[in-house]
Symmetry: C2
Subunit: 579 residues, 2 copies
């Protein structure tokens, strides 16, 4: 029995729904309308098109077999009708029609539907500051904007760029400007860190250092207050409360708003997030209308809260669920856990679940540990350290989130985050992470994988065996020893490594090599809190256990050790820093 | 309250137990005995030491901070007594003593224990064939053997090598010989494929092709029947029923046997596998004796069977569990799912759970699908195809196993296998894999990750929407069209790609581009079974759905398409093959 299916939106969730549904029910009459001329593109690829990693915008609109996904393709290959440059104006739920306007011909008509799918996406937020509408100020809303930006770059018109917003898109755009085009690029972010709320401060700081090493200036804790025009009327200066930054182009990447007006005006339920309310079959408050992608709100499976999650990966999954349900195959989308991965030059940052900041804000009795283990066997030539952070609930031992930082050339961090995500969604505890079976061979992992090791650290911390100082508190102390006059560093690394530190920091720094502590622990002062320092934190924990056994209990371990400090680009490092 | 803990075995599980337990209970008196002079080494690193990736054997015995883990180190740094060159002869369970012999002094004594830990490991199997004991025939039993092999290589004495056994260690050793040393290397494997039972034939064939491309000869389906000596008394020739292979060195890598004699002689329960029986707290049939590592049998969480799993990664996890239980912290090791990863030159193969072959042998109503998706966005420059295979139970929809093949330079395959392993251990279904949240950004993944896509293919197959021909059946047909006279290829790739095939295979091969099928389907013959072929299998599935809708139902999809064929190095490929 044929049905008329009308889908509004032709970027990700819309085409996915259309194509899957046509395969399941070839007799259905399926139409997609989109106000844009360009459809079915990989929006997440825009920064790589701007950078030049992807030569031509058409590549973002092609299939993996190099055919362009335009209206003719959908019609011919998929049997799906697509009307581009066609804007949906209003839904008449009683008549089951959608009024649309042909943006070229200016003609309006009413399209009937049996079932309607809203895949209207999201639009970039624009800060309400003077100059936000100047020429030369871009949001990354669609492919046309990307093409316009790249044209400016290619014409050699851009020497300096300011990116407003230190989220995913802002950072990826900053890399695109700086990496291939050599544009002098500055990021300004209103919050005190990059990726605020998404990762914890130490991981944001590692990311920031990776950007700065590659010439991107980053100013956090200062929002843009105005954009000024130059003589040609073009944006030429961004102002913050602390500085004025000259530029030839501005990218505003301060988040997105779901496009839910059409749904709201039709009387569909829209949540406090601004996203359309759907059940776990992606059905709106009208059983004949489904919605998917950036325009809906979904459940965060750890937080239990509703959020708008503008990710192409989720849009695709949701589109499949809509298609199945429309075809009569019950299917569910239960929510998300917030996995992401991002490249920043030679670095990669990735996370899943909640950060400690967010978990505590939500009322969890949360704590976290940080590790700095190798991604592969320490004797294998290509090994490198991948800092991981595990956030957990103290009462239930449930793992709430994992963060990772490492090189972008391998997928080492991705592997640990992907392994964690499925378990976190299912409420796994620290103990399940300790025993999680990670595939092992020296070229790919360590016998006890970094993720297992991080869970073991959390176990030790929860049991009270491991007591740590946070990266932030340690940095504050290094910045000003007076902040904790009772603290002293116990540096247990090799004498060749500690020499510069004992020379630089005098009586704040005592160095006894790890292997000598059992023999020499009586040399330690009794009236100080010892901050035990090694490279990864592992030896420091051992030493803390030993010192406990000889009743020297006033110690704290620097979690992740100097492997973390090296990735932060700290100013106090004596001599030449390695990272 | 102090206890005397005696641990027999000083490679992986033993030292792990000792060190963790000493941290938990510093008052315990812990002794490790080992018959070898070298202890606490990364045995899995031996092939990389032989290859030269690792310069010095001592690196395999070092900590990540470059300190050698010898007896003095354990004593000084860890507070653990280690007696090397000390063989355990017998356990007196009533007296709670172990008789040991100092292999240098020849002296025997009885060591008392409150709790005993058996970490006696495994020993390589030796085939009962003539010449197995000749000089120049090596098993990879310990570091001494590895040192002896590398000495021969370094002296330039090895021009040709034969590896008997196509399992992990055999293949890794073959790579070590061929890659750095340029040794002409041959693997002979008794079974019909490499990694028999562990991966399915198509994945073994991709691995084999990767080895052959790099100059390693592989002969499967033929076991070594004899090793002959040359004039110098050294092994110089390996014989199989089909050939004689000249060589300067032979490595015999045909599996391992758990070292459980000591346990058996003491009356402890030993299973049919030869492994010591333990409960999930790693306790043997004597509550005062624990065991861990290669010498125990553990539960396969998917198969439900007992097996011996000689992996350093599991030994470490088990050692931690033993330590916890001895310290009074209840801890469990419930079993394993069989995750592995292996490098073979520029290729990587990895899997978790059961292969289809093994699942069916165990009585599962199992089926499988194969995919050939990109590891990252198809427009991202570094993207490559990573074939995946998903094995599932038809009745319960439970995922039983996942296999993957890809490049060794990234961890793309590892990421998918690690993500799968934790879910498989928990009994996850195809549907949970479809919705598994894999982190996404174009440099690291595709919007719908390869693992999700593979689960979707399984869902389509189980629903009867996708009907496939197996790689094996397709290869048999390409080898001899008469095997299925009613079959015909429907090649839907681009005309530039299909031209050579229609020319080569005449009326066995019809080519209609994917985008033209809806217009031209009436050209298709009615009396043939059409084998639909594209690059990845995705378009073929679409075409199958469409042809079903026009009542042309006699079609089969070649799962994974020609992306799989390219990785097999097939002989019938017309013109120049790409992979």
């Amino acid at each position: 029995m044929s049905q008329k299916i009308l889908i509004i939106g032709g970027v990700a969730a819309g085409p996915k729904t259309a194509c899957r549904l046509k395969r399941l029910r070839p007799e259905f009459d399926i139409t997609v309308v989109d106000q844009d001329s360009l459809i079915s593109y990989g929006g997440c690829g825009i920064p790589y098109y701007v950078s030049g990693d992807v030569n031509d915008e058409v590549q973002l609109r092609q299939t993996s077999f190099h055919t362009t996904r335009d209206a003719a393709f959908f019609d011919r290959a998929k049997g799906v009708a697509v009307r581009t440059r066609t804007r949906a104006l209003a839904i008449d739920r009683r008549a089951k029609t959608v009024e649309v306007e042909d943006l070229d011909a200016g003609k309006r008509e009413k399209l009937p539907y049996d079932k309607l799918v809203l895949a209207t996406g999201s639009q970039p937020r624009v800060l309400p500051i003077p100059g936000a509408d100047l020429p030369g100020v871009f949001t990354i809303s669609d492919l046309h904007k990307a093409i316009a930006i790249k044209e400016r770059l290619a014409r050699g018109k851009v020497g300096r760029a300011v990116v407003i917003g230190g989220g995913f898109i802002g950072i990826e755009m900053a890399e695109a400007f700086a990496d291939l085009w050599g544009v002098e690029t500055t990021i300004v972010e209103f919050a005190e860190q990059l990726l605020p709320g998404i990762v914890d401060p130490a991981f944001a700081a590692m990311l920031q250092h990776a950007l700065e090493k590659n010439g991107v200036a980053v100013h956090t804790g200062e929002g843009a207050t105005a954009i000024a025009a130059g003589e040609n009327g073009n944006a030429c200066r961004v102002e913050t409360p602390k500085r004025t930054i000259d530029c030839d182009i501005v990218v505003m990447a301060v988040g997105v708003t779901p496009r839910s007006d059409l749904a709201r005006e039709a009387g569909l339920l829209v949540g406090a997030t601004g996203g359309i309310v759907v059940n776990n079959r992606m059905q709106t408050s009208d059983p004949d209308i489904y919605a998917a992608g950036d325009c809906v709100e979904i459940t965060h499976l750890v937080a239990g809260t509703k959020s708008v999650a503008p990710l192409g990966s989720l849009a695709n999954r949701q589109g499949r669920v809509v298609a199945d349900n429309l075809a009569g195959i019950p299917a569910r989308f239960d929510g998300w856990v917030g996995s992401f991965v991002m490249k920043a030059f030679d670095a990669c940052i990735s996370a899943t679940g909640l950060s400690l900041t967010t978990a505590r804000r939500l009322g969890f009795d949360a704590d976290a540990v940080i590790s700095a283990q190798s991604d592969r066997a320490h004797f294998f030539p290509t090994q490198t350290v991948i800092p991981l952070r595990l956030v957990f609930d103290r009462r239930t031992r449930r793992v709430l989130g994992v963060q990772g930082f490492g090189p972008s050339a391998s997928d080492a961090v991705l592997a640990r985050i992907d392994a964690a995500a499925g378990l976190i969604a299912r409420g796994a505890t620290i103990d399940e992470f300790s025993n999680l079976e990670m595939a092992y061979a020296p070229p790919f992992a360590t016998a006890l994988d970094a993720l297992n090791a991080t869970a073991n650290i959390a176990d030790n911390k929860l049991a009270g065996r491991l007591r740590t100082v946070s990266v932030e508190d340690f940095l504050a102390w290094m910045d000003d020893f007076a902040s904790h006059p009772d603290w002293m560093a116990l540096d247990i690394r090799h004498p060749a490594e500690t020499k510069a530190f004992t020379e630089a920091f005098g009586d704040r720094w005592i160095a006894i090599p790890y292997v000598e502590i059992r023999e020499r622990h009586k040399e330690l002062p009794a009236d100080k809190t010892l901050i035990i320092i090694c490279d990864a934190g592992t030896r420091s924990y051992e030493i803390q256990c030993f010192l406990d056994s000889v009743d020297k209990r006033d110690t704290l371990v620097l979690g992740g050790g100097f492997n973390i400090m090296r990735r932060l680009g700290v100013g106090w490092w004596p001599g030449k820093q390695q990272s």
